[in-house]
Amino acid sequence: MAFEPQTLVTMALAIVLVPLLGAITQIFVGRKLPKGGDWLAQACIVTSAILSITLFVKLVAGPWDPNFAFHSVDHGLSWTWIKLFDVDITVGILFDNLSVTMLAMVTIIASCIFFFSAGYMKGDRYYSRFFAYLCYFCFAMLGLIVVDNLLFLFVFWELVGVGSYLLIGFFFYEETPPIAAMKAFMTNRVGDVLFMLGLVLAWQLTGTLSYREMFEVIASGAFPVAETAGGLETHAVYTWLGLTNHGMLTLSGILIFCGAISKSAQVPLHVWLPDAMAGPTPVSALIHAATMVAAGVFMVGRMYPFFTPDALAFIAGIGALTALVGATMGIVMWDIKKVLAYSTMSQLGYMMLALGVGGYTAGLFHLVTHAFFKACLFLGSGSVIHAVHSQDMRDMGGLKKKMPVTYWTFLIATLALAGVPCFAGYYSKDQIVATAMAWGMTHGAAAWTPFVFAAVGAFMTTFYMFRLIFLTFHGKPADEHKYSHAHESPAVMALPLVILAAFAIFAGGSINPLPHIEHLWFNELMPTPASAAAAGLGLDLHLDHFEHNVHAAHYPALVVSLLAIIIGFFMARAFYLKKSADAEAWRQRFGPVHTVVSNKYYFDEFYNGVIIGGLHKLNRSLYWFDRNIIDRIVNTVGLTVRFVAFIAGLFDKYVIDGLVNFWRWFTQSLSSIFRLIQTGNAQSYLTWTLVGVLVLAFVLAGN
């Protein structure tokens, strides 16, 4: 161990809290600092980056130990956050290869983006606030990575959501960004509460929320709390649902995965991601491409031993579907950022798919590599947008000459994304396709779907990326005016592009196009963890068989991938560079399909019309119900009174507010009747009195 536990924890805290400090400083005094305090924010994130890289070098690159894990809890370094009779939430730091790598990746990308932003956001009205938000986001994201506890992951999970909300809605004075921000937050909220339910269920099953303890409990097969939980409803509901421990574990896994569905923009909760592009481009690069959206994948990776095979299959299915759906939509978009957004969605689908089919390493590997090249792509697009002040690709073209740095870095990242051999993306993506194929081979029939989707997706990826490149950088400028004003971005923006492009090439850790998978750095460091769920439930995963198939699938999958890339590239070239094929004609040919896809499969319409519209209707009816029924039922003696009031028509104005008025009406009517006696005529008083005397006498005399 290179560091004392104490030091490690201090470093971890520094990594997480320094950006928070930056955020707080920025929000309160940022405006008063020279240059809007951007240097301060940059200093903060660079500090984190340096620390993270140090950790990476010392902990990961140094010992190179696949089993490395540092639990600060083991060293008595933990913080008891909540301790009640039956709730004990103690949080500590968890460093293992995954988290340290993630830390390094996030801080590096974030640093690049911080610098890029200094150029991109220059002169913005809320310049310093932007850095405050960015810092805040980094704090949350880094916190999410280092904690050893699912609840805290959830806490930071939500906080990154807030960061995202603030940043998407950064141009809050415009019409759409706030709405997009709200949409993002709300969509995430839906997933998050399901996540929370899953979390609660997991907590009930295992009695803890610490990753390691959870896995241990599950692996031991003892579900202490689940078995002892009594209560009127629990038993009935579980019995009714026929839920066994297995079922509950699967349910819990799926619910937890629901969090990832929204956070990582998986179908059907992906709708927020394209809209989130309303935020500033650096934000899209950092949050909606490299880090936050990947948090879902990270979480699934973290919780990997927890998922039962059924849950994993579900994950794979959702991932595959997302990969394909995202890619199809990427093809038809004209907005440069939207294309990238759908591409991100599709790639996240790949990662999920990989995790689902058992390609733990492949999925996470893709997470890391993708982060770099997608960040690079977004920053490149930001550079372009910065130059032409438009996001529509139909306004661009021929920018290659004007913006060489942007072009080349963009191209490198595109190649990486397409999975062209030797580039970082190739290694991870290839593994994914291979694993998917192996899964198909192992489980047969329907299990081939992920592979098919992945392959088709790979083709589409290449197609839309080159479509993007050709439309933007090649060909003739579509808008001469914009073209003439376009220029290469300043160094502060260009340099990050170059750095990220470098990572896009080298992050794979190899430039050997035919590597031995086991020897890729990532595979060496992060082997697939043993499934605790399977151990606990006593399931046989046929891992040997699967391993064998992965090996077997390696080369066939490579061939398929390459074919897809080549076909994709040439088709794109034909349509958009050479114009040898008429894109419009093909579009006509696929008319209905195109309509559906370019309308994003009508997801938004469905949500807006059916869910949100329905919700509003429901709300309004409930409010009506509240004012008109509950208020009155409780207030009035009942509807009967109201009915009578209506019929009589005499006093319905008195029934405005129930009991108060009804009672008032009642007593007042009675009062009016009683008052009739009080005529002011003393003689009649005397008469009444004597009548009273008689009645009294009769009553008293009677038996």
């Binding site: 009080q678 005529t679 002011g680 003393a682 003689q683």
Partner: protein, 135 residues
């Protein structure tokens, strides 16, 4: 008016001494059909009571109401005296009657003062017309 009442009290004592001649002997009473019969007195008192009520209930002039009350008081007094006499109850009944007579006189004095005010204010002493206080 005060003087008048005091005079009246003095005069009453004198008259009472004179009327002692009509006081009856035991023999007289034993021989009398009506005067020795409590029923007879009760019937008279009851009738007066009812007549008083009738006046109160039927007449609109407020003075009638007062006169009706006088009748009722007298009927009660008659009861007191008759019971005292026939039940050999002592003088309490008569004392009560005496008090009632004086009280009734005082009441009448107030009644007249008030009726006078009513007549001034309302221009009528019709009891059914003084109904400005009502619901």
């Amino acid at each position: 008016m005060m003087l008048f009442l005091q005079d009246a009290a003095d005069a009453a004592t004198e008259v009472a001494a004179d009327t002692a001649v009509v006081s009856a002997t035991a023999v007289d009473i034993a021989n009398s059909t009506f005067a020795g019969n409590l029923y007879a007195y009760l019937i008279v008192s009851g009738a007066l009571f009812l007549l008083g009520l009738a006046a109160i209930l039927t007449r609109r002039n407020s003075l009638y109401v007062l006169m009706g009350v006088e009748l009722i008081l007298n009927s009660a007094n008659l009861n007191f005296v008759a019971f005292a006499r026939f039940g050999n109850y002592g003088l309490d009944g008569q004392v009560m009657a005496l008090f009632v007579i004086v009280l009734a006189a005082a009441e009448a004095a107030i009644a007249l003062a008030i009726v006078l005010r009513i007549f001034n204010d309302f221009g009528s002493i019709d009891i059914t017309r003084t109904d400005s206080l009502r619901d």
